[in-house]
Amino acid sequence: MRSKGKSQVSNKKNLFSLTLEYAVKGTIHVSLKQKLQLYKKQLHQAQKTASSSYVKKREMMEKTEDTVRETEQAACELNAKIRRFEDEYVLVHTEMLHLTEHIGPYLARDLFDTVSAWQRGSSVHPLSAAGLDTGDLLFFDTETTGLASGAGQMIFLIGLARVTPNGVMLRQYFLPGPGHEAAFYDAFLRDCRSLRNLVTFNGKAFDWPRVKTRHSFVRDQVPRLPAFGHFDLLHASRRLWRDRWDSVKLQTIEKKILGMAREEDVPGKMAPFLYFRFLKHPNAQLVRGIIEHNREDVLTLIALYIHLSGKVLGLIQCDEKETYEIARWYRQIGEEDQAKKLFEKLAVSSSGTGMRAKAQVGRLYKKEGLYEKALDMFESVIHEDGTPDDRDCIEAAKLMEHQFKDYTRAIEYTQRAIECLRGKKKMMGEGFPKREAEYLKRLNRLDEKKLRENR
């Protein structure tokens, strides 16, 4: 037992010790403040935050009037108009850019060519603008107070752009404080009645659910959310470039694909903190960088849409991998002719992508009933590729078994498939035993068929 002298509240920086006494009923109202002070002192020691007293805080609150004046001043500096809604307001910045505005390697007006090219292209492709006017596309991006998806994270900045014959109409809505969301969403929804053709970067999973969440808090005061339809450029970019980087980010695409460089960009993850500081001290300088960041993001979306569409429509040179992914995409949406054309073009190459394209062509031939041609493709893959895919071997085995009734070679190909499969056992993880069992079963069946045939 150790028991030494009296000690008061320890100065240890240990979160564990940030305890306050249990608030005894009846006394809590009297001493809560005192308890909070104790708590605060310790928390501050732990976090090393600057001290600010309650007195200061009180003064802050009384300065609401000043805050309004400061916000007006900020609006002026940010070249934004204040739009009022009951006793709330929102800052709206509007600008009209010339159609010859450079966005990376493109001009804004190139979008007209892209949209008209789509009129002749696939109408079911997820990027397709067939049937749309250029001005229907609404390029859209938001900034939020955090990445989590719950009810407590707000959108404080919406940026959108449209390309019209008169120029690029760019508009940004800035939330001057958390109590102004009705004004914020009212202005945004009244300005753009249709949200059927949003162009975003990860909008389906990120921006739109947040719009829905926050809108629901003011749904009684503002217009309803219109039906939502959209082009997600993250999805398209991932398809084309996911092998190149660990994660596909808009900034990376700008730099590596579009050859754009930003000057003095504020990183997106800084946005919440700068915004929180702005709320305490409404100084335009704090958020100018975020607003510019958002503006550039929205403009980049225009260039990226032109770029991706150009690749998919075959207007811009693609490398083998891109072509392969575009072909695969066509195949998945049922545009098989388009897919076959691209795969066939690739299939003459002896690269890895060429091999994979051959296998794809083989599958398409098989589907069309061109079994000889299909088999040629698979056999060529199996013979030329040092490490063929087990599934391609199985395709060859299937053709041998069902179309050509050559069980001996079907068995050979199945054995080859098993060999290939075992080679990548580590990589496959849980899927492995099931597939192996499947192949072994096939092998047994083929053995039986062969026996029966020999009898």
Partner: protein, 751 residues
């Protein structure tokens, strides 16, 4: 061939057994029936009739009527008394009358929710209406979550899921919150201590969101037997509750036996290990084909007993008739055992208190408890597992050597007539309240002048906005932080400073097997400790304080480890104190700072409890501010008995108080600590402190303070009632100068 003994024969034998120290027969009871309430929907009535039910038990009918009258209810129901219908009937009634109406069920565990879902589904099928009931928890597939949010009429979940998933995303649950008619809280008594204090706040948040969407749901809560069901329900929900505690279900005659294992070492007054006795008793029933459930307090004991009992059978199939059951088993495995128990394929089961809760295993004939389960609610819930419709049930409690077990064995009257313990929570614990306020503010902004529970929020919100978590604007505090607070706050672990336990046995597949709060980590996960997890032993290789990780690997050794703490305790503020003239002592209650330094650990062999080695623990000191109750004695005792003897008496008193505490307040060993000080720093008097092991306290020591005189009475009876001469595990433990210390303590207590 051996002739099987019948139950009657076994009972007759037990009657002669000298170790059966008490035999209490609880007479059977006829059902108290009530006709179907008039308002009961005809479809429900038809479904019940098809089940062969032609009337309700009186408490079921009363629950239905009371719910119908718009009241919030706490139901106290023993095991197997048809409690499910008590809430399912009003809920289904409301859904049938108005399909837009919604109900939310809270169960303490996922498994219970799954169970209840099956039962609800069976009833819905019989009704023949498309009522949609779902479980919503971590296992729910992403693809059906949206459907549940929009169309689920009855949603069954747990408080953790409500806290971290449903409430923070309330905008996705609009149709639930707009139309929420009933909130059902099952197993109310499990929401106590830290967990309960958090859950009470989660319910405050839930009510706040309901109010925002314009609904005011009614509560239907069920609880096992506790002393303060209504008060506890009110503390948890913040509503005035109507208590329904007259059980109308029938029960068979029950024989309740106390079995006290024989003393095998007279000098030390050490009794035969209770595990051996349990094994022999259970084997006798099982060998004769009598379905038996055995409860043990630790997962390790469960596994040990199950494997011993399996040895009585030879063939593999036969062995499978005896199973272990505890938390940590996979759901499929548990379902298999539950089914086996219901259809009689499984004869015997050894379980932790996991089978105490409302899992449906039907009724068995015999229940054996390995030691006093720690509180009366558990006793009656475990005992309720025995009692088939027609035959007598047998319940045997086998006492361990602990003072509490020995006290109960010696005082059956106290046991059978005494009041059950109280469940305590402290929702306004400032640590918990602050955490929960953050979650609440994240969900909806606070308005100036709002209250949360009973507390006005202004000061708390100002504090949080000072910490840059909230932002104040025109009369409201808004969440203004990039964090998602519910993710950082766990309802079950003590402090939000938890350590991950990382199993690195297989270097290629390192995985996290659990987590523990800092205090626990430093007392159980020090380097070279043997840590037990799901019956497996792990050696702790490294405790990384910075990264908050403990690296462990699987081992198979025959010892466990136990750490010694050097505890320094300082009183920060005395809130209450009063003289206790009877003992020439004074009691106090207030805030203390506890500083603990783990020093050494001992290696203890499993079978013999021998000390087979020790090691140093190299860890920094821990500090915690909490509540404590204490009792201080006059300094002159010290001179009178001499330091050694008096210190022995104080240590002995601590030993006794630690064991007596569960008689007054529902608590586990882990919830309270007892520390004797020969010279307390605040008054320089010999003092024994009992403190809540949670920062800020959760109300346990407060209750201890109130009950101090009674506790001392019980402690006195424990010492007097023990036959040993110089201290034994059943009274003061083994202390220096045991004989004189025991005398001194008696003198101290009786003055």
């Amino acid at each position: 061939m051996k002739v099987r003994q019948s139950m009657t024969e076994i009972l007759a034998e037990l009657k002669k057994n000298p170790n059966v120290v008490h035999w209490h027969t609880i007479p059977g009871r006829q059902a108290d029936l009530a006709p179907f309430p008039e308002k009961l929907d005809w479809r429900l009535r038809r479904a019940l009739v098809e089940r062969g039910i032609s009337s309700l038990y009186s408490h079921q009918a009363l629950a239905f009527e009371t719910a119908g009258a718009g009241k919030d209810i706490v139901l106290v129901t023993p095991t197997a008394s048809g409690k499910t219908l008590c809430y399912n009937l009003p809920v289904l009634q409301s859904v049938l009358a108005d399909p837009s109406s919604r109900a939310l069920y809270l169960f303490p565990t996922k498994a219970l929710a799954q169970d209840q879902k099956s039962e609800m589904e069976a009833l819905i099928n019989e009704i023949g209406e498309p009522v949609k009931s779902y479980t919503y928890d971590g296992d729910t597939a992403g693809s059906i979550r949206q459907k549940i949010r929009q169309a689920g009429q009855i949603v069954m979940t747990n408080p953790d899921m409500l806290h971290s998933n449903i409430l923070p995303h309330h905008t996705k649950w609009v149709s639930l919150f707009e139309n929420l008619r009933y909130i059902v809280i099952d197993e109310l008594h499990t929401y106590r201590g830290v967990f309960g204090s958090h859950v009470a706040n989660v319910i405050r948040r839930l009510e706040r969101i309901c109010a925002y969407y314009g609904s005011r749901p009614q509560f239907i809560c069920t609880s096992a037997t506790i002393d303060n069901p209504r008060e506890h329900g009110e503390a948890l929900t913040g509503r005035k509750m109507t208590l329904i505690d007259r059980n109308g279900a029938p029960s068979v005659r029950k024989h309740f036996l106390f079995y006290n294992p024989p003393v095998i070492n007279k000098q030390l007054n050490v009794r035969e290990d209770e595990m051996l006795a349990v094994k022999d008793l259970a084997a006798q029933f099982l060998k004769n084909g009598i379905q038996t459930i055995v409860f043990a307090r630790s997962r390790l004991k469960v596994e040990l007993l199950a494997s011993h009992l399996q040895e009585i059978n030879t063939g593999r199939d036969e062995r499978a008739k005896i199973c272990a059951y505890r938390g940590g088993y996979l759901p499929l495995e548990r379902r298999r055992i539950e089914r086996g128990l219901r259809d009689g394929k499984i004869m015997g089961v050894v379980s932790t208190n996991a089978l105490e809760l409302g899992v449906d295993i039907g009724q068995l004939q015999v229940c054996i408890m390995t030691g006093y389960p720690g509180n009366m609610a558990s006793v009656w819930q475990q005992a309720g597992r025995a009692g088939r419709r027609t035959e007598d049930a047998v319940i045997i409690m086998v006492a361990s050597s602990s003072p509490l077990d020995q006290y109960i064995t010696g005082h059956p009257d106290y046991f059978f007539s005494g009041k059950p313990e109280e469940a305590r929570i402290n929702p306004d614990n400032l640590m918990i309240l602050m955490d929960q306020m953050k979650c609440a503010a994240y969900e909806l902004p606070f308005q100036k002048g709002d209250t949360f529970g009973d507390e006005p929020v202004d000061d708390l919100c100002e504090f949080l906005s000072d910490e840059d978590v909230l932002h104040y604007q025109s009369g409201k505090w808004y969440w203004m932080n990039d964090a998602f607070p519910a993710n950082e706050i766990s309802l079950r672990s003590a402090v939000q400073d938890s350590f991950a336990i990382v199993d690195a046995t297989d270097r290629g597949h390192v995985k996290v097997i659990g987590e523990m709060d800092r205090f626990g980590a430093m007392t159980m996960l020090y380097e070279d400790a043997i840590y037990l997890h799901q019956g497996r032993q792990y050696h702790v290789d490294q405790l990384d304080l910075e990264e908050r990780k403990a690296y462990v690997h699987r081992v198979d050794v025959n010892y466990y480890t136990d750490s010694d703490l050097a505890v320094q305790l300082d009183v920060l503020e005395v809130d209450q104190h009063s003289e206790m003239p009877a003992a020439r002592a004074e009691k106090g209650f207030g805030d203390v700072s506890v500083r603990a330094l783990p020093t050494v650990f001992k290696k203890i062999r499993f079978e013999t409890l021998e000390n087979i080695g020790w090691g140093h623990i190299h860890l920094p000191e821990l500090e915690m501010h909490t509540n404590a109750a204490w009792i201080s004695f006059q300094e002159d005792w010290l001179e009178r008995f001499g330091k050694d003897v008096f210190q022995g008496a104080l240590v002995g008193l601590s030993h006794l108080l630690r064991h007596a505490a569960p008689l007054f307040v529902m608590s586990d060993q882990a919830d309270l600590s007892v520390v004797p000080k020969i010279k307390a720093p605040h008054n320089e008097q010999p003092t024994v402190f009992i403190y809540d092991k949670y920062p800020g306290g959760v109300g346990l020591s407060k209750k201890i303070y109130e009950a101090m005189p009674l506790m001392l009475e019980k402690v006195t009876e424990m010492v007097e009632g023990c036959g040993c001469e110089s201290g034994c595990p059943s009274c003061i433990g083994f202390v220096n100068e045991g004989r004189r210390a025991k005398q001194a303590l008696l003198e101290l207590l009786k003055k």
